[in-house]
């Protein structure tokens, strides 16, 4: 079964690189819901107007997850800007997540 992608596209108009995220979740499970919320919050706080999030629900099809070598959910992949970064878990450890996504110190 092909994975259905539900994109919430908010392409940037502001200056600076556009961040493209792909978040793999498992339906409405607690950690997946937390990860969605946390990612949206980080993006609004640090990348307002210049980010793109694609949510992939593995329950609707595991193929995309498999193609992306995703073993667990929630998994967040920063596709752009390069280099690619993968973060596992519900993204509740703000400091570590921001550091991993190279957003630490990008306060506005």
């Amino acid at each position: 079964m092909k994975a259905r992608r539900r994109g919430r596209e908010r392409t940037a108009t502001a200056k600076g690189a556009t961040y493209v995220f792909r978040l793999f979740v498992a339906g409405k499970e607690s950690n997946s819901a937390l990860a969605r919320g946390n990612l949206a919050r980080f993006c609004e706080e640090h990348l307002k107007g210049r980010y793109k999030i694609e949510i992939v629900d593995v329950l609707e099809g595991a193929l995309t997850a498999h193609k992306n070598s995703v073993l667990v959910t929630p998994t967040l992949i920063l596709l752009k800007p390069r280099p690619k970064v993968t973060v596992l878990g519900n993204l509740s450890d703000t400091r570590q997540v921001l550091a991993a996504l190279r957003l630490a110190g990008d306060e506005r």
């Binding site: 498992a26 499970e29 950690n31 667990v72 959910t73 929630p74």
Partner: protein, 278 residues
């Protein structure tokens, strides 16, 4: 066709990825494991929390039930003592009064009165025993330590099993609920010894340590099976465990054929208020 061997890489990146995966699994941040053909949902944390909540609720319920039971026992004991005790005492005095009014010629009546008087005395004693069994008044009057000492003496008296009591708490008072719980645990443990252990000796020890209170009841009987210890049908053991847990303590029962049974209850001291006796 020759198959090309894949290079095995153990780069820093893959080690980091493994660490991240282990961390996420350990901290219960994972919802699902995605395999090639299936997705396994992981609800460990949620299930653990639900189980723990359910256990907490059961413990709270058990503690509440014990408390209600003790209150009801106290009410019944008071009613028995005040109503029946008073009535029987009046009856006894009445019979004695009639007995003094009888003339020497009324011998058969005299005999009947003496017999009724003996029955009344026996009834008064029974009512006192039942009331005291329902609510150990000695706990209020003498305190836990002396009550346990007296319980050990009485147990030895009616079972013939040598029963000792040791403590390092000579002059201490416990808060009522803790004292009742400890007393009931000892009562249940001694009942088990008398009924099942085939022991010739039993020792009760109540020891105050730095941050906990430890109650031990050990006998030299035949011990009990592990199956029986964990069985839900062992109501006595379940009751003792529930009372210990309600005080925030732990309950362990160890046994062997050669060494008998050792029951240990450990209660953290802040949960049990111990004050100096007045």
């Amino acid at each position: 066709m020759r198959r090309r061997k894949l290079p095995v890489r153990t780069s820093n990146a893959s080690i980091k990825a493994n660490d991240a995966l282990i961390h996420a699994l350990k901290t219960h941040q994972i919802d699902a494991i995605v395999g090639e053909r299936h997705i396994m949902m992981v609800r460990l944390k949620q299930t653990e929390e639900e189980l723990e909540n359910s256990r907490d609720q059961l413990r709270a319920l058990a503690a509440r039930l014990q408390s209600i039971r003790e209150d009801e026992r106290a009410v019944i004991a008071r009613e028995l003592h005040d109503e029946f005790g008073q009535a029987l005492t009046s009856m006894h005095l009445g019979l004695s009064w009639i007995s003094h009014k009888l003339t020497p010629g009324q011998q058969p009546l005299q005999e009947k009165i003496r017999s009724l008087s003996a029955t009344t005395t026996s009834l008064i004693r029974s009512v006192k025993n039942i009331a005291s069994e329902l609510r150990p008044g000695a706990l209020d009057e003498l305190g836990l330590v002396k009550t346990l000492k007296s319980e050990a003496r009485e147990f030895e008296g009616y079972t013939g099993i040598q029963c000792g009591f040791k403590t390092n708490l000579a002059k201490a008072n416990f808060d009522r609920s803790a004292a009742v719980a400890i007393f009931r645990i000892v009562q249940a443990a001694l009942t088990n010894v008398a009924r099942h252990a085939h022991a010739s000796r039993v020792l009760i020890a109540l020891v105050k340590k730095k941050d906990s209170l430890i109650l031990t009841v050990m006998d030299n009987g035949k011990g009990i099976t592990r199956k029986l210890i964990s069985s839900h049908d062992s109501l006595g053991i379940t009751g003792m465990r529930e009372r210990a847990l309600a005080l925030g303590g732990t309950f362990t029962l160890t046994c062997s054929r050669s060494k008998g049974t050792i029951l240990t209850v450990q209660i953290p001291l802040p949960r049990v208020v111990i004050g100096r006796a007045p």
